[in-house]
Symmetry: C2
Subunit: 549 residues, 2 copies
């Protein structure tokens, strides 16, 4: 990756290319009728108001009297209107593209500038200035600058000398930014932690425990130095190198022959105009994104009866990956990563390795982002798209044992997967969006890479219950933590005016004499929400067919 070095003049920018009406202005709860104004959820809203004894007549009127269908924007910062949103939904291939604009966030002398650039006229159409630099996503330049700060700090150099560690063996990195109390209010502050890379590329397993520097990202000053771990040895490097080329012992298993996915006639999907994916009964828009990594938009499935395309989802992406650690120590309490919002899942997605990360016949899509100084940057092979076949069966039925029908019907399960893998420090997150021909979309997240570990003075655990996680190796604690991944899923099932139906089964006792059954329990369906728009259809088989030569 191209790195720019702008130390005094900190000009951090990122470009977010967007079709003017995107998800930025659209909350997940909003509803976008196609042409006439409708009020989804109005039934339940009205129910809430009629049940609310305290609601005044004025409030009730305010909720029902506004007609949004004809609203026009009056101010540059007004949210998108119903008519503007419909303009986008109605766009189809051949229509002129809507005006394309880019949003630029520039940090200059501790102030943040938010600019909107019209890309056709190359003019700035809006420019707002905030008096502080705020908390934008960490850029690669931010991280690299912070990671160099410790080496010019006298206390730091004294501390690592006391540990006998040469500075050339060290790698320092900041966990994602945070707010660490009123003393640091208004400042962009990160904590910087260090690891030894001596004899291993797996420095994550060799923390310099207890050594923490609090660094101001704008001034690159060390605001606070803390060292509580001088008595904790650096865990050994033995057997930590995970690379194949570094293995000296033969694996204790029989080798596996080469294996991949066989497609003698090639894959069945097409990618049109760089981003429109067409496969089986699915059509959707796929793109790489700086922050979310991978964004799926305008997902449609073909009706199995009449062949018409039906809306399924307006937009879906990973909105955050929050990873808090359950350790309260001075050097750990702040570890609550926001991997999407602070590092960017797209910025952390390195190229996928053909055959190892994705099977043969995969199609690779690049990511186009901006570097911290605003120049374009291409991340090659960032997304892969492939047909998945695992030897599984989507549907089968055999007859012949008890009836005269001799039937052996079986449909292999073939799906389409769009994949992206983000390497956020020690962790690798694999995001799979899998489309099934029966209409199901599976979103899968695989967690890989290394643990974030804590150094410990112990070779064997004296009291595991008293620690923040189990001792997983000598001098290493695997600190208990969570991975919360959240998704933005703006569903448009048959249009924006859809609703959930929640069916619960409850136990009910049968009446005396109601049935010869000896047990008294029967199940009763309870429908929690209106079933008005929902239809349950008998689906006997998956109509997809795979042929073999």
């Amino acid at each position: 990756m191209e790195k720019s070095s702008c130390i005094h003049f900190c000009f951090i920018s990122y470009l977010v290319l967007f079709i003017v009406v995107g998800s930025w202005y659209r909350s997940t709860n909003s509803s976008l009728p196609n042409s006439t104004l409708q009020t989804p959820w109005s039934t339940s809203k009205n129910r809430i108001f009629s049940n609310s004894k305290a609601s005044s007549v004025l409030e009730t009127q305010a909720q029902t009297s506004i007609d949004h269908s004809a609203e026009a924007p009056h101010h540059p910062l007004d949210p998108l209107t119903v008519q503007e949103i419909n303009k986008v939904l109605k766009w189809s291939k051949g229509d002129a593209l809507l005006p394309r604009k880019a949003q630029v966030l520039a940090l200059l002398n501790g102030q943040s500038h938010v600019l909107t650039v019209d890309l056709d006229s190359s003019s700035i159409t809006s420019h707002a200035i905030n008096s502080s630099s705020g908390y934008p996503m960490l850029s690669v330049d931010d991280i690299l600058a912070a990671s160099k700060v410790p080496f010019s700090n006298a206390e730091f150099n004294k501390s690592i000398a006391a540990r006998g560690v040469p500075s050339s063996d060290l790698i320092c990195l900041p966990p994602s930014a945070g707010w660490f109390g009123p003393n640091e209010e208004g400042k962009r502050v990160v904590k910087v932690l260090c690891y030894s890379k001596e004899s291993t590329p797996n420095f994550y397993m060799r923390p310099i425990e207890g050594l923490v520097m609090t660094v101001d990202l704008d001034t690159l000053e060390v605001l606070k130095f803390s060292d509580t771990g001088r008595e904790i040895p650096i865990p050994k490097s033995t057997d930590t190198d995970y690379r194949y080329t570094a293995q000296t012992k033969e694996p204790q298993m029989e080798p596996l022959n080469p294996i991949s996915i066989e497609q003698p006639k090639g894959p069945s999907f097409r990618v049109e105009d760089g981003h429109i994916v067409k496969w089986a009964n699915w059509v959707f828009h796929l793109k790489a994104d700086h922050r979310a990594g991978l964004v799926i938009s305008r997902v449609m499935v073909r009706d199995s009866e009449n062949g018409e395309l039906r809306d399924v989802m307006y937009k879906g992406f990973a909105s955050e990956f929050f990873v808090p650690y359950m350790d309260l120590d001075e050097s750990w309490y702040f570890k609550s990563y926001m991997d999407a919002g602070e590092y960017g899942l797209g910025m952390s997605a390195l190229p996928l390795v053909p055959l190892n990360d994705c099977p043969r016949h995969s199609y690779y899509m690049d990511g186009i982002f901006a570097t911290p100084d605003g120049n374009p940057f291409v991340q090659p092979n960032m997304i892969c798209l492939f047909e998945r076949y695992a030897g599984d069966i989507s549907w089968r039925h055999s007859e012949g044992l008890l009836t005269d029908f001799q039937i052996r019907e079986a449909r292999p399960k073939v799906t389409l997967v769009a994949r992206m893998a983000a390497s956020v420090g020690n962790y690798d997150y694999i995001f799979d969006w899998e489309f099934q021909t029966d209409g199901l979309i599976n979103v899968k997240v695989g967690l890989s890479g290394m643990l974030m570990v804590k150094g410990s003075p112990y070779h064997q655990a004296p009291n595991q219950d008293a620690m923040s996680g189990p001792l997983i190796s000598e001098n290493l604690i695997g600190v208990v933590h969570d991975h919360f991944v959240t998704f933005h899923l703006d569903m448009d099932i048959d249009g924006a005016n859809n609703s959930f139906v929640n069916v619960n089964l409850v136990k009910e006792r049968s009446l005396p004499g109601e049935s010869p059954r000896k047990s008294y329990l029967k199940a009763k369906r309870k429908i929690a929400k209106t079933e008005k728009d929902a239809q349950i259809k008998l689906k006997l088989y998956d109509p997809s067919r795979v042929s073999y030569d």
Copy 2:
């Protein structure tokens, strides 16, 4: 399948070939130490006793004073002893086979005979007679005989004539056997239900609702005739035929190109002596079984450090598949299928279809069973064994964005699957035992086939909450039901003397000043059972390597 017709002389037998000491005498909770006597769970048992205020001294002594290690059998029906079980566990290739015996269950004149046959000497070594026929598994002859009974019943013929259904359009079948009240005590009784196969092989969708005959399997008499559904139309056959060859409409999706699993050098597993499977770091015994379908025994995995084989599981199989329906009507209350114990998952497993049921390069294993008259019968291609690759990643890590290490390590996920599919009437159950190189065994059950539906007088649902399930099509109710699958998993992790460790996390409040963290919660590990034998080892990577040409 070969069918014998023994109507008056009902000689129903089945052979269960077993190595003398099998799971038949071994409960899931028992423990089998390898040489010296050990008491697994003794710690927790002692804890229970010491905590129990009401336990007498006598009870406590009785639990701890028996030495099982030197016990010898004294009676032919004594359970296997520690020494006998160890004799089997210590058997290895090259040793003489232990004596092989078969158990035969024969029904004769309403009595059941249980015989043990020594296969080397061709002699009967035991013979017990019970005065009733009991409730053995339904044989194919039982089912076929019961399915013919209605057609010679006058009430039945009158009822179907009133419905205008020619008897040649009917298929009658019994749900699995049951006990239907004191009047039928001591009799082998089934209910027989009928369906119309006119214009479709999918007769399951065309129930003759409300028509039920209670049939004695020994005498083939109709004990009870019930018809409560004359006003319920037989649901239409339109669009119910699921066979590819019967489809008249083009599928509303783009066709899929051929796809399977590519293995230019063939699969990496071997099957030795017909049943021993060796793959990567796994070794196990695989066989077809009349009742359980598929049995996995003596599962061992190779230690990744020293290459020695370590015990994982003595035996694993599906022990039952219980499917109760939540409808109390006279014609439905008895539908509580026991698919394994009453039909037999193995007997219901028809041949797998290459490329549709299992991928290319699969190895197929036949099942050898006994027909109802005692003759051997071969079910070809009943089990398939294949290496599964779905394009997934077992482990990956990339470096290069923030450090100088340029690393792109990714290991494709390859597993071994043993599969069997049972077609129990309308339902198809797919059983997958999947072995991962990291030591995990996944047991997956796929449910396919058709719903068991109920006829309804309604085209549209008047009150769905009052019905036993949703109206899924005109005149068809999908009755709410459960599928409970239970497994016999006799685990021998590093021998029989193993235990579970249950680690729970509980929330705990931090003390004032304990941490600069603003939230007051921290996690604490609570170990519910003894961790004595358990070791958590740091596993950095999966050592399996796949090469590509």
